[in-house]
């Protein structure tokens, strides 16, 4: 049963990543693209966690934690750049 659930969650997340990519390519404003990139990072974290469940291996969590931190810093840097034209003042 867990195998089916993992497969279903993988399919959902792959579809979600495709939808995010669509918004990333189409997005009429820069804010849309930043938001799509942020969502893609969050979905990648979910996929990494799911890979850990599917392979019964808990060495992937460090990667997920690292991606969570780096993704947030990246989003803040993009927003800061759009607000002020500079990242570190």
């Amino acid at each position: 049963m867990i195998g089916y659930a993992v497969t279903f969650a993988f399919a959902c997340l792959a579809l979600a990543l495709g939808l995010n990519l669509w918004r990333l390519l189409k997005g009429p404003e820069v804010g849309d693209r930043v938001l799509a990139l942020d969502t893609m990072v969050i979905n990648s974290i979910a996929i990494i966690v799911l890979i850990g469940v599917a392979t019964t291996n808990n060495t992937y969590f460090e990667a997920a934690l690292l991606l969570a931190m780096v993704g947030f810093v990246g989003t803040v840097a993009y927003c800061k750049f759009m607000l002020r034209g500079d990242i570190i003042e």
Binding site: M1, L35, T39, A46, C79
Partner: protein
């Protein structure tokens, strides 16, 4: 290794399915909703909740499957629940400033334009710092 038991298996599977479903709904909202202010709602709420569900499912799985209590998932979900609202706030702020800079009115979606601030005040992100308030923490 502890035998999982049907209840634990059902709980893990339900958490994983719920998490995947919520993540999909969040991304569908990102595609479907008409304007950026409305699109913010999908990823910030549904996707964060979906990731929380998957992390709880993973935590239960390792707890019941291997008997190891891992706290990584709690760290990830705590960090994400803290940072997601901040990122959304920053994107909304960028959007408001971009609208003001371009002088083009936004196309209101089905929810309509947000109501203006009361009594002639401006949005807080446009206001100058009040006297006595340091403009940034690096200046004092």
């Amino acid at each position: 290794m502890i035998d999982l038991g049907i209840l634990g298996e059902i709980a893990i599977a339900a958490m994983l399915v719920l998490g995947g479903g919520f993540a999909l709904v969040g991304s569908w909202g990102l595609v479907r909703l008409p304007s950026l202010m409305e699109r913010l709602h999908g990823p910030t709420k549904a996707t964060t909740l979906g990731l929380g569900g998957i992390l709880i499912g993973s935590m239960l799985f390792f707890q019941l499957e291997q008997g190891t209590w891992t706290v990584h998932e709690l760290l990830i979900s705590l960090f994400l629940f803290i940072t997601a609202p901040i990122a959304a706030n920053l994107v909304a702020k960028v959007h408001i400033h971009a609208l003001r800079a371009r002088h083009t009115p936004t196309v209101p979606g089905p929810a309509g334009a947000p109501p203006p601030p009361p009594s002639g005040a401006d949005w807080a992100t446009h206001e100058a710092p009040h006297p006595g308030t340091p403009a940034s923490t690096s200046e004092n």
